[in-house]
């Protein structure tokens, strides 16, 4: 299947579902700062790859797929579970890109302009993630 942009999926998401993700993102970022101050940057840094919104996103996929199938007169549980599984597999592939992001920052932020290192690491994250996704698709 080709990569597609589908804005219609945004219509399925209700305002409180956006709010939950904003709230969770804000809370974990604030908590990471507090943990870093209390226990040091080494412990605080662990929370930079915490699966902060993964449970909320997976639950939304599950819920939206069931609703979609039920509107078509089908049960939809099995398909919803498959979609959550596939989404999680994508996250596992993206976590390899996240490792590269962290590696680049840890190695280069002390020597080069921080904005440049963070930008390059972000590009590396998406590049590595997409390459792994494409490689996995062709296997």
């Amino acid at each position: 299947m080709r990569i597609q942009v589908d804005p219609s999926s945004l219509k399925q998401t209700r305002w409180h579902e956006f709010a939950v993700r904003f709230l969770l993102g804000g809370l974990i970022t604030a908590a990471t700062g507090i943990i870093g101050k209390e226990y040091g940057p080494s412990v605080g840094g662990l929370f930079l790859a915490f699966p902060v919104i993964f449970p909320a996103s997976a639950t939304l996929i599950d819920k939206h797929e069931k609703e979609k199938k039920q509107r078509a007169g089908l049960e939809g549980r099995s398909r919803a579970r498959q979609l959550v599984s596939v989404d999680a597999a994508g996250t596992a592939m993206g976590s390899v890109g996240l490792f590269v992001f962290a590696l680049l920052i840890s190695q280069f932020i002390g020597k080069h302009a921080p904005w440049l290192v963070i930008s390059a690491a972000t590009i590396a994250w998406i590049a590595v993630s997409v390459l792994i996704w494409l490689a996995r698709k062709r296997m």
Binding site: V5, P7, S9, L10, T13, R21, F22, L24, G25, G26, I28, T29, A30, T32, G33, I34, P41, S42, G44, G45, L46, F47, L48, A49, F50, P51, F54, P55, A58, T59, I61, R77, R81, Q82, L83, V84, S85, V86, D87, A88, A89, T91, A92, M93, G94, S95, G97, L98, F99, A102, L103, I105, S106, I109, G110, P114, I118, A121, W133, K137
Partner: protein
């Protein structure tokens, strides 16, 4: 207190933006890549560089390497369970979080402490 609020707002915007991007893409395996977006990291590291210095950001990033391995284990575990066991997504994703915790803190304890 003001700094916590700033972190909250920047983190909320960053995480929501990557989540929105994830919602936009098909197929789901591709959209899933955004579940591992460096959303919290971008917000935190940008502030760390400005407030605590580059060494602080470098130290946080080193630990982040351990927790990204933990994220890989967590997401793989959720993927396997959802494909092979008839369980609710909310329960699987929440009750699998200890996998992330054990791997993340285990690697930190072994290699970075």
């Amino acid at each position: 207190m003001k700094l916590i609020l700033i972190r909250f707002l920047i983190g909320g915007v960053s995480v929501s933006t990557f989540a929105l991007l994830g919602d936009l893409f098909k197929p789901k395996s591709f959209a899933g890549l955004f579940g591992a977006a460096p959303s919290v990291a971008l917000a935190t590291l940008a502030l760390a560089v400005g407030l605590d210095g580059r060494d602080n950001a470098a130290e946080q990033s080193t630990s982040m390497m351990a927790s990204s391995i933990a994220l890989f284990c967590y997401a793989s575990c959720v993927s396997w369970i959802m494909m092979h066991r008839p369980r609710r997504a909310i329960l699987v994703t929440i009750f699998s979080l200890p996998v992330w915790g054990v791997v993340s803190f285990g690697l930190w304890w072994l290699l970075l402490r």
